[in-house]
C-alpha cells in the first residue's frame, strides 16, 4: 500500500488505490498468456505434480507466444490487471520453430516502451517455460505474485470506467 | 573412523572458502595420478576428498596431504569434473588453522641459517600457507 500512496494522484491511479483501500485484503490480479505447447503444458505439469502457487494468476491459452499482440497486454492493464505475464517455449524449441525468436524482439521493445510510459518493470514479464518445467512454472507464478504484491495495486494505464460498470 | 559431529560445519566453511564442492567428485583419481608430490603424501588427493565426502573431516585434517600440496594446479587442470583441488586443499588448511589454535609455523622455530637460506618469497608464502 505504501507504494501506492507515493503514486501520483491521477484519476486512474487513485482508482487502483481506492479499490485497494475498500478491500483490506487486496489481492493482485495477474493475467498470464501461455503458449499451448510449452508453457501451458508446463502449467499442466505443475498441476499433475500438485505444485501449489497463488491463485492470483489466471492463464489464457494462446497457440504460440508469437500470437501475443501488445494490445492484449495493454487491454489487460486497462481492465485492472496488476500484472501481465507472457510465457513461451525456450528459444530454439518453439513448436513453430521461430515464433519465440520474433517474440523476444517484439516484446523486448514493447516492455521497454511501457516502462518508458511509467509502468513498473515488474508488472510486465516474459518468461520461457518448457513443458517439462512444471517447477519453473509454479516458481514464476509465485515470484511474480510476490513482486506485484510488493508493488501494490496498479492504477497506471487503467481505464477508470471499468470499475464503474463492473 | 567416525564422523566428527561438526563435520558438516567444517565442510560448509571449506566449501565457502574454496568455492569447491567435494560432492562433485567422481573419485576417478585422475588428480592423484597427475599429482607431482603424491609420493610424499600419506593420503592421495582423491582420498582426502573421499574423506570429506564421507564426513571424516578429522582424518582429512590430520593427513599431511593438504599441507604438502604445492598448489601447482595440475590436479585442477586434469580434473574432468572441473574441481579445483588446489583451492580445496587451501580451504582445508584455512579452516583447520582457524580451528585448532596456534599456527603450524612460527618465526621462532626458524633457525637463522634457514632464514638466511630461504628466499623471501618462500617465507612469505610459507607464512601465508601455515599461519592464521
Amino acid at each position: 500500500m505504501s507504494l501506492a500512496q507515493n503514486r501520483p494522484k491521477t484519476e486512474a491511479a487513485t482508482a487502483g488505490m481506492e479499490a485497494a483501500a475498500q478491500d483490506r485484503a487486496w489481492e493482485p490480479l495477474i493475467v498470464a498468456f501461455c503458449c499451448n505447447w510449452c508453457s501451458y503444458a508446463g502449467g499442466d505439469l505443475a498441476g499433475t505434480s500438485r505444485m501449489q502457487y497463488p491463485s492470483n494468476i489466471k492463464v489464457i491459452r494462446v497457440p504460440c507466444s508469437s500470437r501475443m499482440n501488445p494490445l492484449f497486454i495493454l487491454r489487460a492493464f486497462q481492465r485492472g490487471a496488476d500484472g501481465v505475464l507472457v510465457a513461451g517455449c525456450h528459444p530454439g524449441d518453439c513448436h513453430y520453430s521461430t515464433g519465440n525468436y520474433l517474440v523476444r524482439r517484439r516484446l523486448s521493445a514493447f516492455k521497454r516502451l511501457i516502462e518508458f510510459a511509467g509502468l513498473e518493470p515488474e508488472r510486465f514479464e516474459v518468461r520461457w517455460i518448457s513443458s517439462s518445467e512444471g517447477d519453473k512454472f509454479s516458481e514464476v507464478m509465485r515470484e511474480m505474485t510476490a513482486a506485484i504484491k510488493a508493488l501494490g495495486p496498479n492504477g497506471k494505464l487503467r481505464d477508470g470506467r471499468w470499475r464503474k460498470i463492473t | 573412523m567416525k564422523q566428527t559431529e561438526n563435520h558438516s560445519r567444517f565442510i560448509e566453511e571449506m566449501k565457502e572458502r574454496s568455492g569447491q564442492d567435494p560432492a562433485c567428485c567422481l573419485q576417478c583419481a585422475k588428480c592423484s595420478a597427475a599429482c607431482p608430490v603424491s609420493a610424499v603424501m600419506d593420503l592421495l588427493p582423491h582420498q582426502v576428498i573421499r574423506y570429506l565426502q564421507l564426513g571424516f573431516t578429522d582424518e582429512a585434517c590430520k593427513s599431511k596431504t593438504p599441507w604438502v600440496c604445492a598448489s601447482c594446479f595440475t590436479c585442477a587442470a586434469r580434473c574432468p569434473r572441473d574441481l579445483d583441488l588446489a583451492r580445496m586443499m587451501e580451504g582445508i588448511r584455512l579452516v583447520a588453522l582457524r580451528r585448532r589454535e596456534g599456527n603450524r609455523l612460527n618465526p621462532g622455530e626458524l633457525t637463522p641459517e634457514q632464514l638466511k637460506q630461504l628466499p623471501q618469497q618462500a617465507l612469505v608464502s610459507g607464512f601465508r600457507k601455515y599461519t592464521k
Partner: protein, 659 residues
Amino acid sequence: MPRVGVFICWCGTNIAGTVDIETVVETARNFPGVVHTADYRYLCSEIGQDLIKEAIKNEKLEQVVVGTCSPRMHESTFRKAVAEAGLNPFLLEVANLREHCSWVHQDKTEATAKAIALLRAAAAKAVLNAPLIAPRLDVEKRALVIGGGIAGIQAALDIAEAGYPVDVVEREPSIGGRMAQLEKTFPTLDCAACILTPKMVEAAQHPQINLLTYSEVEEVKGFVGQFDVKIRQKARAIDATKCTGCGVCYEKCPTKTESEFEMGLAKRKAIYVPFPQAVPNVPVIDRDNCLYFRKGRCRICEKECPPQAVYFEQQDQILERRYGAIVVATGFDQLNPVEYGEYAYGQHPDVLTSLEFERFFNAAGPTGGKVVRLSDGKPPRNVVFIQCVGSRDKARGMNYCSKICCMFTAKQAILLKEKVPEARSYVFYIDVRTAGKGYEEFQRRAAEQYGVAYLRGQVGKVFPDGDRLTVKGVDSLSGKTIEIQADMVVLAAASVARGDAAQVGRVIGINSDQYHFFNEAHPKLKPVETHTAGIFIAGACQAPKDIPDSVAQASAAAVKAVGLLAKEKLQGEACTARVDQSGCSGCLYCEAVCPYGAISAVQIEEHFRGEKLTRIVAEVNAALCQGCGSCTVACRSGSINLQGYTNAQILAEVDAICL
C-alpha cells in the same frame, strides 16, 4: 446471443474436492448466452458425454463450454462428442479447472473464485466461436532416410518392406557407416561385416529402395506429408551405369592419399572405393587429390577403364523430390582426443583412439589384421586402455556418458588377447557400465578369462620412455599410484555428435541438445519423433548408442514413418490464419514472419470512382498454415486474424478474467 451450454466436471474429487461445484454452476447460469448448465462426476465418461449430447439436442445449444481437466487432455474427446451431437467440433471451449486450478490451489474459496473466472473467460470466448473445418492434406507416399549407416539401412529396409519407396541419402561414396569400420561386435563377437554386408546388399537390391550415395540434403521445405527436399548428388566423375566395379582404375591411379575409412592409418588412391565391400561398388574421384583435377594432366584411369566409365566432366546434380516422411540417421563421430595433451595422443604413434585400434584387427585393415605397434611393427606386450576420454568431462562441457566405451574396450581387450596371447591389457576406468543383455557377462569374461586388469582410477600422464610409453595412473581402490610400461595406449574417446549436426538440424528443421545430438519429441513417450511432425530420428545422431539400440530405434522410426505414409489423408490444422482483404494494405509483413511460407501476395481488382484498380493483398494457404498466429501480430491493421484464437476472442477472455 448464441445459446450456450456450460458443463462442469467434478473429476471425482480432483476438481470437486477444492472447487465448490454448486457455486460455480450457479454463477455460470448468469453468464451471457447461457441457457443450460449441468455438472457430472466424470464428464469424460460415456454417460458424461451423453449428458452433453442430449443437452445440445434438447436445449438447441449453439456453443458448448466444459469446465474439466486440461484441454491438452480431453479437448479432442469433447470435440468428438459435440460433433456426434451435430455441432461443429470447434464450437466447444474448455476451461482448465483441474491442472490450472483445483490441483494447484488448496483454499476452497480461492479455487472456486478462480474456477469461475476461468469458466467465464471460456464462455466469453465460446460465444465468439465459429465453425471451423480442418483441411485434409495429401500424403506423398515416399520416405526419405538421411544417413546410410546401420540405422539408416534398417529403417530403409523396414519402410521398403512395408511397401513404400524409400530414398537413402548417404554423404560417403558407400553406405555402411561406422559399423562397416568395425571388426567384431559385442557381446557376441560376431564379425561386423558378416552381419552388415548382407543388409547393405539387400538395401541396394531392394526394388523399393533407391540409394543416393555421395549425396547430401541441401534444403527441406514443406510439412508433414509433403516435404519438398533438395538433394545434391556430388559428381563421382564416374558413369555409374557403365562402371563394372572391376577396380582397374584404382590399381593404376598414381596418386595416394590418406584413407578416411582407415582413420588415416592407411593410404588410398585419388580414385577409390572406401572399402572392398563398398555398396555401390563404384569408385569416386577425389578432386582435391586427383592429378588431372589439380594439374590438368594424367587421365590414366580414363585410359585404363575397360568400360570407359570415367567421366571427368560430370557435374553435381540437384535432385528435387517430395517425401511424406523423413527418417534422420546421420550417426556420430569419435572425439579427437588431441586436446588431452596428458595422453600424448598425436605426439606418439602408439597412442590410438579405439576406432583406430579397431582397424588393427581387420584383415583388410592397415596392418592386414596384425596388432603391432606403428612405431616399430612389433606386437605389443602391455596395452593400456583409458576410459572416459572426454566422456563425463564436465570441465570440457561434456557431462554425458558415451555408453558404448566400456563394452567396446572389453571387446578389444579380448580380441587383443586372441591375436597376441602374450599381451597384457590394463583398463583404467571410473565406472564400468555394462547394462544390456549379455553385457555384464561379457565384461566379466574379459576380466576373468582373458585376464584383463581393471584399475579403478584415471591416468594422469602418458609419456614416451625409450621406445615404450610410461602410463602414470592410480588405483583408487588400493589408493596406490601405478606406473605401467605400455607398448600401446588406447583411448576410449567420447562419442560425439557429427561436427555439422547443428547445421544439418537447421536445414532439416529439427532442434538439438547442448551436445548437438538431435532432440526427440519426448524423452520417454516419443523417443523417435521430433518436434517437427513427419520427421523421425534413429541411431547415434540422437545420443550415443550401440548397434542393437540403433537398429531397434531405426525400426521404431520406420514404423512411425510407415504409419504416416499409410494414411489416406492427413488432418490439417483447423485454426488457421485468414486475411480480410478489405483491410489488408498489402505490406506483406505477415509473409515475412510466417515460418511455413503459407502467406503469399495476390493481386485483386477493385473499383474506385468507376475505374478498375488493382492492388496487392496477402493470402493464406490453409494447407500450409500451422496456426501459430505470428502474422496476426505483424499485421498492424489486424486484417489477418487467427481462427479459433481471434483478436476478438482473446480480448473477450481478457475482459472476462478482469471482471
